[in-house]
């Protein structure tokens, strides 16, 4: 099924007799039923006001189209959504609806916020085929419940997004990156924390153990970037040797897309923790490869196929999501961290109300 308009989509959903898998660009690797409901027919930017930092687009609009329109005005999606294709070995065209449905946010999340923080409004079709709107296109809106946040990251389990409205931000004039050479994850976290605790507005804080570098990105107007990178150097000089990375744009794109894992075998997990817990969690993971982002709060781990990483970790504060695995593993091990009973009851209750017939992405998200 591939509707061309919201009304057509609503009609299709109302008439569904079997569950469907909602597919935007089909790039984020989530399984589901055979029947497919594609959103790519709902495409196009409906409103863009650079002076108000707002953009409204239909859910099936390719992310690349949006990025191009923004770039023409010197603006960008500040939450820096990753491109999953390299990591998952998928092809297809990522859509803005898929980004929002999965709340995809890159390295700048620690400074600017996640996709959900930039989402101003949504329109979606619920499981009964009703068109619902929430939020709008203004920056501040507390009118009624914030279903906008609820829809962000709901992975198509509550409804099919048809239109999203986003806050956008100016592209920085300059970018610089310091690499602090460290010997361990512990030292890396120390460096990242120290930088994030400083007033120098770090917009990326990652660690790649393969080359032993804690990476710190600073963005803004040129003079200010120069000033802040210098200040950071003196703040961090006791932790390790510091070098400049020239032209760091590609480096951060690689970190965003978990490039070091591309083409490597095994399952990929994404673990969200309190940053200073990261060194201990990393030790317990015994992973083949790791990559840390968000100051240590986001751990990417590559492990042999079929590894039950949650069992390995035991109890910890945070959650682990299985991002890449074969269908069998994905079925045996829940993709999403099982929730405590009280929270799970709320999740199930909401799903039962938004999609009473259970037609959207069944099996996903518990």
């Amino acid at each position: 099924m591939k509707p061309e308009t919201e009304a057509e989509l609503a009609e299709m959903v109302a008439g569904l007799t079997e569950p469907v898998r909602i597919v935007g660009g089909g790039t984020r690797g989530v399984g589901g039923p055979e029947a497919v409901l594609e959103t790519a027919g709902l495409s196009g930017i409906t409103l863009y006001e650079p002076g108000a930092l707002t953009l409204v687009a239909q859910a099936g609009t390719p992310v690349a189209d949006i990025e191009a329109a923004l770039a023409a005005e010197g603006q960008q999606l500040a939450f820096e959504p990753m491109d999953h294709r390299g990591l998952l070995g998928t092809s297809g065209t990522p859509t803005i609806g898929g980004v929002v449905a999965a709340n995809i946010s890159g390295p700048r999340r620690i400074q600017a916020g996640a996709c959900r923080d930039f989402l101003l409004g949504v329109r979606y079709v619920d499981g009964m085929g009703q068109v619902i709107k929430n939020g709008g296109r203004v920056m501040k809106n507390v009118t009624g419940y914030d279903l906008v946040k609820l829809m962000a990251g709901s992975w198509g389990t509550l409804g099919v997004l048809t239109e999203v409205s986003l806050k956008v931000l100016p592209k920085p004039e300059a970018v610089a990156t310091n690499a602090v050479h460290v010997a361990s994850a512990g030292d890396a976290i120390q460096a990242l924390s120290a930088a994030l605790k400083s007033p120098f507005e770090v917009s990326g804080a990652a660690y790649d153990p393969q080359n032993g570098q804690a990476l710190l990105r600073v963005e803004g107007f040129s003079d200010s970037v120069t000033y802040r990178t210098e200040q950071l150097k003196s703040t961090l000089s006791l932790i390790g040797e510091i070098t400049d990375i020239p032209d760091p744009t590609e480096l951060w794109q690689g970190l965003r897309d978990v490039m070091p894992f591309h083409g490597q075998e095994g399952d990929v997990w994404r673990i969200s923790v309190k940053p200073t817990d990261a060194p201990d969690v990393v030790t317990r993971l015994e992973a083949d490869q790791i990559l840390l982002d968000w100051g240590g709060g986001l751990i990417w781990a590559r492990v042999p196929e079929g590894t039950d990483l949650r069992a390995r970790l035991g109890a910890f504060e945070g959650h682990a999501t299985l991002v890449r695995a074969d269908a069998k593993t994905a079925e045996t091990l829940d993709r999403f961290q099982p929730e405590p009973t009280g929270v799970q009851a709320l999740t199930r209750g909401l799903r039962a109300r938004f999609d009473p017939r259970g037609v959207f992405n069944p099996g996903l998200m518990g």
Binding site: P50, K140, V142, Y145
Partner: protein
């Protein structure tokens, strides 16, 4: 403003409910004497008052849980309360309700600078959260003008904002986790010191739910390192439209000020008389603040001033000292108080797309003439969050009604130009019946479905947010169940 009739069967059971509550709370935490429950009869929307049946002041999550379990079993509505500074009537009781105040729960539970968060009980005031981390040069960013008094509990429930949220976001962007007691007394923990949700973003829907989904007792908040410095520049214009254009140009230029505040003639005069900040005599005043090191501030301000100059300002003044900056902000932050000295006022907070600013201001001016009530405008211009303050005389018969009708017209206007009814104060009772102007029945139904899941009996703050006729059948179920 209509409120549902109190349920006589609940009122008749006051003694029974009281004695059960006294079994789980110390005597001084249960307020039942009508002379004392009066203290909880209203919030900052003082035009509406109604003392609750009882008020309780629990000291910890366990006591909150006990209270809610009992009220759930007894079928008694509960109205959560922080500091009672809501401007929307969010904390207004009904005569058959129990007010659950969290003011005694104001401890700091954990501060963690390496991970940049603080965990507090929610009765703690907004400003004292910053107070708790200031010695390490950290702060909690959302800064409602009421920050000295309002509690984190109310901030979370209303998703409050402040002057500096243009850069730092509102409460929901700075909230990492909550401990919350459900109406049946069970306790859930959502989020924490890690960054994103593992499943559905329940935290996102709890924030801004106006005390209707659960009672939040503890919260994990993001704290940030203070910038090296900050400095405002004042600019005056002879024309609202030009000021609006200037705002838009600054935003487009790539500079992200921490705040862009706008005041019109009436507010400028009132604030100047109050704070003596040296505000110029003009039609539209902008306060634009930037942050960073001295050099960074100079650099950004010179870019901003260059943009402003293209719009022929009648005044352009960079603050020269910390004292001057404080005065400039004092004027802005005391705008409500200053207007309050002139007369009673009603404060609205609709949000509009920044591009509609001139049109909306012109329409408000016309409406003001039609209704014969003066209105001052002070607002967060960077994000289009208006604060029209309508002056009226509460002692003059008919004035309040006239003011409400005027307010409703302004809010509808905000919606019609592509904005919304409320940007940071919440719906409460004040905008409840206007919700149908912004949302279709199915949209409201989807929101009410969330409440059905969290609070199936509709006992938590039930008469708020949704138009009474829209929520009636759900609230009826409760009465029928008695």
């Amino acid at each position: 403003m209509e409120m549902p009739r109190p349920n006589p069967e609940i009122l008749a059971r006051k003694q029974a409910v009281l004695s059960r509550l006294l079994q789980v709370l110390p005597a001084d935490a249960v307020i039942h004497d009508p002379a004392e429950t009066r203290a909880y009869e209203c919030d900052a929307l003082t035009a509406y008052r109604c003392p609750p049946m009882l008020a309780v002041l629990p000291s910890d999550t366990q006591e909150v849980s006990d209270v809610l379990r009992i009220c759930h079993e007894e079928g008694v509505p509960v109205v959560p309360r922080g500091s009672g500074t809501s401007l929307a009537g969010g904390a207004l009781p009904t005569a058959d309700s129990v007010i659950l105040g969290v003011a005694r729960m104001n401890e700091v539970l954990e501060t963690d600078y390496d991970n940049r968060f603080i965990r507090v009980q929610t009765g703690r005031t907004n400003l004292s959260v910053t107070g708790a981390v200031e010695e390490e040069d950290f702060f909690y960013a959302p800064d409602p003008s009421s920050q000295l008094a309002c509690a984190i509990a109310g901030n979370i429930a209303m998703n409050s904002g402040g002057a500096h949220c243009l850069k730092y976001g509102v409460t929901t962007n700075n909230l990492l986790g909550v401990k919350m007691v459900m109406m049946d007394g069970s306790v859930v923990e959502i989020g924490g010191a890690h960054l994103d949700a593992g499943g559905l973003d329940l935290l996102g829907v709890i924030c801004g739910s106006e005390g209707q989904l659960g009672v939040v007792t503890e919260s994990t908040l993001r704290i940030l390192r203070k910038p090296e410095g900050a400095r405002p520049v004042l600019m005056g214009f002879d024309d609202n439209e030009v000021a609006g254009q200037c705002v838009s140009d600054i935003i487009k230029s790539g500079i992200l000020p921490v705040a862009i505040e706008f005041m019109d003639t009436l507010c400028i005069k009132a604030c100047e008389n109050f704070a003596h900040a040296g505000y110029p005599d003009c039609h539209a005043l902008l306060i634009v603040e930037v942050e960073g090191s001295e050099a960074e501030i100079d650099d950004q301000l010179s870019k901003i001033i260059e943009i402003a100059k293209r719009h022929n300002p009648v005044e352009l003044r960079e603050s020269q000292s910390a004292e001057e900056s404080a005065k400039i902000w004092l004027g802005r932050k005391s705008a409500f108080g200053a207007m309050g000295q002139m007369n009673d006022y009603m404060c609205l907070d609709g949000t509009i797309p920044v591009s509609s600013l001139p049109e909306v201001l012109r329409r408000i001016g016309e409406l003001s003439a039609e209704y014969g009530l003066p209105v001052g405008n002070v607002f967060h211009a960077g994000d289009g969050n208006m604060h029209p303050l309508i002056l009226f005389d509460a002692n003059k018969p008919g004035d309040l009604e006239k003011c409400e009708a005027f307010g409703a017209d302004i809010l509808k206007l905000c919606v019609d130009v592509g904005g919304c009814l409320t940007g940071e104060h919440g719906v409460g009772i004040e905008k409840r019946d206007l919700m149908s102007h912004q949302y279709a029945p199915a949209d409201l139904e989807a929101q009410m479905a969330v409440k059905d899941v969290f609070d199936p009996k509709w006992l938590l703050n039930p008469a708020k947010v949704f138009p009474l006729d829209a929520s009636e059948s759900r609230r009826e179920v409760r009465v029928a169940a008695e």
